[in-house]
């Protein structure tokens, strides 16, 4: 376990994960309640409730029926049709980040589950768990590179295009910088550890690999989970919800 260094134990990592996820859940609740400050209809009364938002969103999202909801979910949320209509480059970037990020997050969750199985030797599955973890290496690499490509285009676009750069604020920079930082530290940790996928072993430095892996993990947990509800990261949740509520938009 690469990041169990500097006094960090398995139990501490689990505790940290639970705290971060708790913060994340609270953050989402906080935002939903904030959205609930609005009304339920065109000239309805002001309310302030978590459930008001949920009810209003459900009403809006299913206004035109389940089929429209599903069509919007596939074409607009999963395939980002509206982005493709406007800019194929931005679409490629967004798709790479979207699927890279989501898949890596899912793989990380899966990895944690496998870690737990391995650590406590649940049902005597420690050995198969170890093998399963190794099998996750390739998808981690593939989706990691996908995310790296997307994040690089995002940073490049903001840096190289004057109009885009001029209208980039700290709000944007925090998101894109965060994604790029998480991605690149993850890669660097892997390269240091000796993962030779695409780069060979030029960057192998196994003594400090655990430390770097720890930095990556803390950044990922901190930025993704702590910052998500309070920064532009929230659009990861709010944009799909908006698309669904508006049945794909104008």
């Amino acid at each position: 376990m690469a990041f169990y260094t500097l006094g960090l134990t398995f139990e501490l990592v689990i505790l940290l994960t639970v705290i971060v996820l708790g913060m994340w859940v609270y953050g989402i609740y906080f935002n939903v309640k904030k959205w609930g400050i609005g009304s339920t209809g065109y000239h309805d009364q002001l309310r302030y409730s978590f459930w008001l938002f949920i009810a209003t969103w459900l009403h809006e999202a299913f206004k035109d029926g389940v089929l429209v909801f599903l069509r919007t979910a596939v074409l607009d949320v999963l395939l980002l049709r509206r982005t493709l209509a406007r800019s194929p480059i931005r679409w490629g970037m967004h798709m790479a980040i979207f699927y890279g990020f989501l898949t890596l997050a899912a793989l990380s969750g899966l990895g944690l589950m496998i870690d737990i199985v391995e650590h406590f030797n649940i049902l005597g599955l420690a050995e198969p768990a170890e093998m399963a973890k190794e099998a996750l290496g390739l998808p981690f690499d593939v989706f990691g590179y996908l995310l790296l490509i997307g994040a690089t285009i995002a940073v490049g676009r903001r840096v190289l295009l004057k109009f885009v750069r001029d209208n980039t604020t700290a709000y944007d920079a925090f998101l894109i910088g965060g994604v790029f930082l998480i991605t690149i530290t993850g890669f660097y940790a892997e390269w240091m550890r000796g993962n030779a996928f695409l780069v060979g072993n030029a960057l192998t430095y196994s003594i400090y690999a655990p430390h770097f892996a720890l930095i990556h993990t803390l950044l990922a947990l901190g930025l993704f989970c702590f910052a998500l509800p309070w920064s532009k990261y929230i659009h990861v949740i709010a944009t799909p919800l908006t698309l669904l509520a508006n049945r794909g938009g104008e």
Binding site: N31, K34, E60, H235
Partner: protein, 463 residues
């Protein structure tokens, strides 16, 4: 007096940011903006005010989020709310109203934000807090409530322009809702409509004094109070008249009748709203329209936002974009060409959203930009289906010193059909100001009628 102003200002700064007019899904939209900047590329007001990015949708969303978080953000929950700064609110209000609510930002928005509805929900919150509206927009409620039209005209004279030999009923399956501008300021449009419908043997009625202003200006500028009265009154009047189809030659009235009125009405609405262009296009297809005089001009078509983007999802793109084009193209002699920006991505004329009344110089610059779009393709005539686009484009044309004329497609059709479009003398003749087609039995020529009454209307723009 100065102390009073200071007190008012101080009291207002204690007021929280109002959110009650926004649906909770609209507050979600604010966070859903992924700041792709696409809206900035298309925004017609930003195009003529490139030094003011804060008037663009992306920045307005960001500012609203920032203002809201002062009262509802995490820091506000932990350390207490921060009062709103008066200067900041004033600047935000100006930014918020420097928008024609044309909706192109919503059309291109990657996040699918319904921007027109969003801006129109933000504004009443600003009005309620005492920040909005801006400029002459504040006259709208009093004018419209007092006179039931924005021109301080008499309701009894709504039909004063109808030619004596025209046949107009009080009721019927088909009703024509003329709107205040055709009734009082662009009567040539009303006359042309009545003449065409008579020529096509269409039995139709008009509400006369019972036709109240559609109150679009109130919705667009966030002053919703009087709106309810007008919506309910007009719907009831049309129902009482037995309407099954209501025709509109005014894009602003059509949008309001189709989208906004029903939101204020609790009963069943038995009629369908229909753009006159779609109705006439069907008649053309059926071979009922007979043209006599060719109009030998290079013509383009300006899609009014209210008849196009605002309605395309409700009425379909065919009615919104193709029907008026087919009407124009059916006229003999017309050489038709679209401007580069057309249909759903058209550039707004700049008059909508109360901008013409509230920030006239911005409306004028937008109009000049649109006239330039037409000049690029060497158009001689810009046709449209919106009296307000026409009014603003005429102002823009004059400011740009261009020779392009603005004519409604209904007037073009009436002229080409050889119909008598002479407006009977009436109390509002002196207020007429528009480009017209003056025809002999063999030829039509473009001309401009100048307003003869001194001064300008208090509120020159009501949509």
């Amino acid at each position: 007096m100065a102390d009073n102003n200071a007190n008012v200002s101080s009291d207002r700064s204690k007021k929280p940011l109002m959110t009650g007019y926004m649906m909770s899904t609209q507050l979600l939209e604010i966070d859903g903006c992924n700041r792709c900047q696409e809206c900035m590329k298309w925004c017609p007001t930003f195009a003529v005010r490139p030094d003011r990015p804060e008037i663009t949708p992306m920045y307005k969303n960001a500012k609203w989020r920032q203002l809201q978080s002062r009262q509802h953000g995490l820091r506000a929950k932990i350390f207490g709310e921060k009062p709103l700064n008066d200067d900041e609110m004033k600047a935000f209000t100006e930014d918020c109203y420097a928008c024609t609510t044309c909706g192109v930002c919503g059309t291109v928005c990657e996040a699918g934000i319904r921007t027109v509805e969003l801006w129109e929900a933000m504004r009443p919150n600003l009005v309620k807090r005492g920040d909005g509206p801006v400029g002459k927009q504040s006259f709208f409620p009093k004018l419209i409530k007092g006179d039931r039209n924005p021109y301080m005209a008499k309701q009894e004279e709504r039909l004063c322009w109808v030619p004596k030999d025209a046949k107009v009923n009080d009721s019927g399956d088909i009703m024509y809702f003329a709107g205040c501008t055709a009734a009082y300021r662009q009567q040539a449009l009303g006359v042309a409509t009545v003449r065409i419908l008579n020529n096509l043997n269409v039995e139709f009625g008009m509400l006369g004094k019972d036709e109240w202003c559609c109150a679009s200006a109130l919705v667009r500028t966030g002053q919703r109070e009087v709106m309810a009265e007008h919506a309910v009154h007009n719907i009831d009047a049309l129902k009482d008249a037995g309407a099954k189809t209501v025709l509109f030659a005014c894009a602003g009235c059509l949008r309001n009748a189709a989208v906004d009125w029903p939101m204020w009405y609790e009963g069943y609405i038995p009629y369908e709203t229909m753009p006159l262009s779609a109705f006439l296009r069907d008649k053309i297809k059926n071979g009922e329209v007979e043209y006599k005089i060719p109009l030998n001009y290079r013509v383009t078509y300006h899609d009014p936002c209210h008849n196009g983007r605002h309605l395309m999802h409700l009425k379909g793109k065919d009615w919104a974009f193709e029907a008026p084009r087919e009407c124009v193209q059916s006229i003999p002699g017309v050489k038709f060409q679209d401007m580069v920006r057309n249909r759903a991505l058209q550039r707004c004329c700049g008059a909508g959203g109360g901008v013409k009344a509230g920030i006239p110089d911005l409306a004028l610059d937008c109009a000049k930009a649109r006239v330039n779009d037409a000049a690029e393709i060497q158009a001689e005539v810009i046709s449209s289906t919106c009296p307000f686009c026409r009014l603003n484009l005429i102002d823009g044309r004059n400011a740009a010193e261009s020779s392009i004329k603005m004519v409604d497609i209904v007037e073009m059709m009436a002229a080409s059909m050889g119909l008598d479009t002479k407006i009977p003398e009436n109390p509002y003749t002196k207020f007429q100001s528009q480009d017209v087609l003056v025809c002999t039995p063999t030829e039509c020529k473009l001309d401009t009628v100048e307003r003869k009454a001194p001064g300008k209307d208090l509120v020159g723009e009501a949509h």
